[in-house]
Amino acid sequence: MSDELFAGYELLSGPDEMFEANGSVRPAYRTLGERLRRWDTQEYLLRQSRADLALLNAGITFTVYSDDRGTERIFPFSLIPRIVTAGEWAHIEAGLSQRVRALNLFLRDVYNEQRCISDGVVPADVVFGAPDYNLRMVDFAPPLGVYAHIAGCDLVRDGSGQFVVLEDNLRTPSGVSYVLENRTIMVRVAPDLFPRRGVAPVNDYPGRLLSMLIDVRPEHVDAAEVRAVVLTPGAYNSAYFEHAFLAQQMGIPLVEGSDLVAHNETVYLRSTSGLEPVHVIYRRVDDAFLDPLAFRPDSVLGVAGLMDAYRAGRVSIVNAVGAGVADDKVVYRFVPEIIRYFLDEEPLLPNVPTYAAVLPEERGHILEHLRELVVKPANASGGYGVVIGPQASDDELARLGEAIEADPRNWIAQPLLEFSTIPTFLDDHVAPRRADLRPYILTGRSTWVLPGGLTRVALREGSYVVNSSQGGGSKDTWVLTDDGEDGGVRDAQPGR
């Protein structure tokens, strides 16, 4: 490898995506490694600054202060890509597809027959105790029985080298726009890194998303006449860029709650030519804010009367209201059982071993092993409230113990995973940093997995938290379309 860029690259505990334990480059990364070797630090910095400038100019930023002169920052983009071999991907794709199918069946069941509860697969208090279990959804099934139309499952490669599911995101998973933008930027600033054998394209996503929205329209609407919209909380939401991006890429209106009205169980869009019916709402507004008549009465982000129209089958909501019960971190603990129960199959992608404090025998284990475990609140996202035992103070752990005793339903624990690292450029050298992978799964009439996903990387030294809100960055993710005979990527013309 380049003496300059990779000097002092020291493997951490856990596997590395690019290097074997003995320091040799994995086959899939050989071509990339050879090409990176031609870069010196200057070259790297030049490419990185071009990438940063492109992101800034495109306005792919989040606001640090919210006034007009607010400083805006880009989400850090890390130039060295993550590579997933075709063989690995086939396994991931099958595993995610299986998982999302089972979770949709689970959701339909907990809001209707509730067989999985009466058969003892998932305890009743685990289901009903989930804050996102939504009583307004009982005895109702959305079109095609799909609840989690868009799922984002966070994967990591564990110490044994296999991919495991860290958590599911079934409410309004975000980040897919960065998958597309990262690829655009990568092609622009580092075209010479791409292998000749091919990387699976990602720009199919908006088209697939739109087809899915049309799939799940209300029964009475003809496919050619579907009016679908993206519902955003507004321009001040941190994911607003993504909402606007997806609406634009699909060519459908981006609306705010105040742009819609519900009347006689039909939802309309306020347009300059009067009111026009809306059939499918891809909402990026949380359940609680969707309808002030059904949920939080103080919400100004939603549409009064939306739930009545939804239950009357006049409008479809994507993802379904109440889908969050299936990505609850305590329910997660039961997903392998859910897959076996609903599909009669063995899970292809394993869970991380998880202890739920709500189960008395597991609570005892958690309290005795706080020092070794990672403890997470059951219903938070963005990495908030996570306590990493080995890195926590005695004081913190004591307070955590009390919190668990006081509200066991709210806590789960997992062993600290030495998940894989990936070479990441930092100022003037390359160092290993922990990374996860969030693929996106769409379900309408069938299930489709976007080849790749968002690779998030913990930029801080020693950090295990990859969330952008906690100082994480992201990388382009390459799913190889062909692994070649040696499992790697061959290149007939390395000098192109």
Binding site: L56, N57, A58, G59, D68, R69, G234, A235, Y240, A244, F245, A247, Q248, P253, L254, V255, E256, S258, D259, V261, H263, N264, T266, Y268, L269, R270, S271, T272, S273, G274, L275, E276, P277
Partner: protein, 325 residues
């Protein structure tokens, strides 16, 4: 088209045109003040007139009390404490563009975003930079307009954008003229003198009308002729008559599918304005007082804006009757 989107595209047109006009005026003001008034330091009073024309007189008094050394040009161009400064206006344009990101092309958005970033990096303004800075702002806004015309669908949204642009341009032209109306008062001194001609030339230049004027009118420059051109020339793209006609055309295109009961209000205002403009002569206007006439025009522009906002952008559906069958 979504009412909120229509309203925001209309405002995008207004803000961009406003910023471009102000950059134009500041550009010329700077040149004129250097040449005609013994350097930028002596030019306080004319900058005051520009600030007043931009509608920021009160904010300027407040700012000057806090910071007496502050250059008026800095307040007008970069002042964050001036909601009507060029930088604040463009920040609003960009915020509005963000909310209608799906209705403008990536090229338009990136150009506007880059202009915003370019201005965000500027610290206080040195007057000698004014020429280059205002020139750059003008050029970049014109680029946004060009990209808009060449990369965005010619649909209802573009018509609303153009409605905003032409209404704002007409309004700004009245404000430019109004800064010099006193030169056309019968009792004003030096009427027809060299200073007078110098001032009218500046006005023509600030609306990019100098060359057009020369091409179409070989006579001596006079207030009467300049006012005549800026008010009534049907083929000069910044005259009030031209803007009013363009506004009417785009408004009618934009409201083809709008219920008559909603779109008739503003259309009536525009049609009556166009009729009046077409019938008037510059002599009649000056006899009645240019300042009063310009004041009246600004009121009518306000009425057009109000009728469009109330009856189209913000119209509430009146119960079941608004619901299509």
């Amino acid at each position: 088209m979504l009412s909120r989107v229509a309203e925001n595209l209309y405002w995008l047109g207004r803000y961009l045109e406003r910023a471009e006009n102000m950059a134009r005026m500041a550009h010329v003001e700077y040149l004129t003040s250097v040449e005609g008034g013994g350097g930028p330091e002596q030019s306080g009073s004319t900058w005051d007139a520009l600030i007043a024309a931009s509608g920021a007189r009160q904010a300027y008094f407040t700012a000057r009390e806090a910071e007496p050394e502050r250059a008026p040009a800095d307040f007008l161009v970069l002042g964050w404490d001036n909601p009507n400064s060029i930088r604040s206006t463009l920040a609003q344009a960009r915020n509005v563009a963000r909310t209608v990101r799906g209705h403008v092309s990536r090229e338009v958005w990136e150009e506007l975003n880059q202009l915003h970033l370019y201005l965000s990096r500027r610290e206080t303004l040195v007057e000698s930079d004014l020429f280059d800075l205002c020139g750059e702002i003008k050029r970049r806004i014109e680029t946004v307009f060009g990209l808009y015309d060449n990369t965005v669908l010619f649909d209802e949204g573009r018509d609303w954008f153009r409605c905003g642009l032409y209404l704002e341009r007409a309004d700004m032209t009245t404000r430019v003229l109004d800064t010099k109306y006193h030169l056309l008062l019968p009792e004003a001194s030096e009427v027809g003198g060299p200073l007078d001609r110098f001032q009218w030339t500046a006005i023509l230049k600030s609306v990019s009308a100098w060359e057009a004027f020369r091409k179409t009118d070989i006579a001596e420059i006079s207030g009467r002729r300049v006012a005549g051109m800026l008010l009534f020339r049907p083929d000069f793209p910044r005259s009030i008559l031209f803007c009013t006609r363009a506004l009417l055309r785009h408004y009618r295109n934009a409201t083809v599918d709008t219920p008559r009961a909603q779109c008739v209000h503003a259309e009536r205002e525009i049609v009556l304005l166009e009729m009046d403009l077409a019938a008037l002569t510059v002599e009649e206007v000056i006899a009645g007082g240019l300042h009063e006439f310009l004041d009246g025009l600004q009121t009518r522009f306000g009425a057009i804006d109000h009728a469009t906002t109330e009856h189209i952008f913000r119209a509430l559906p009146d119960g079941a009757s608004a619901v299509p069958a």
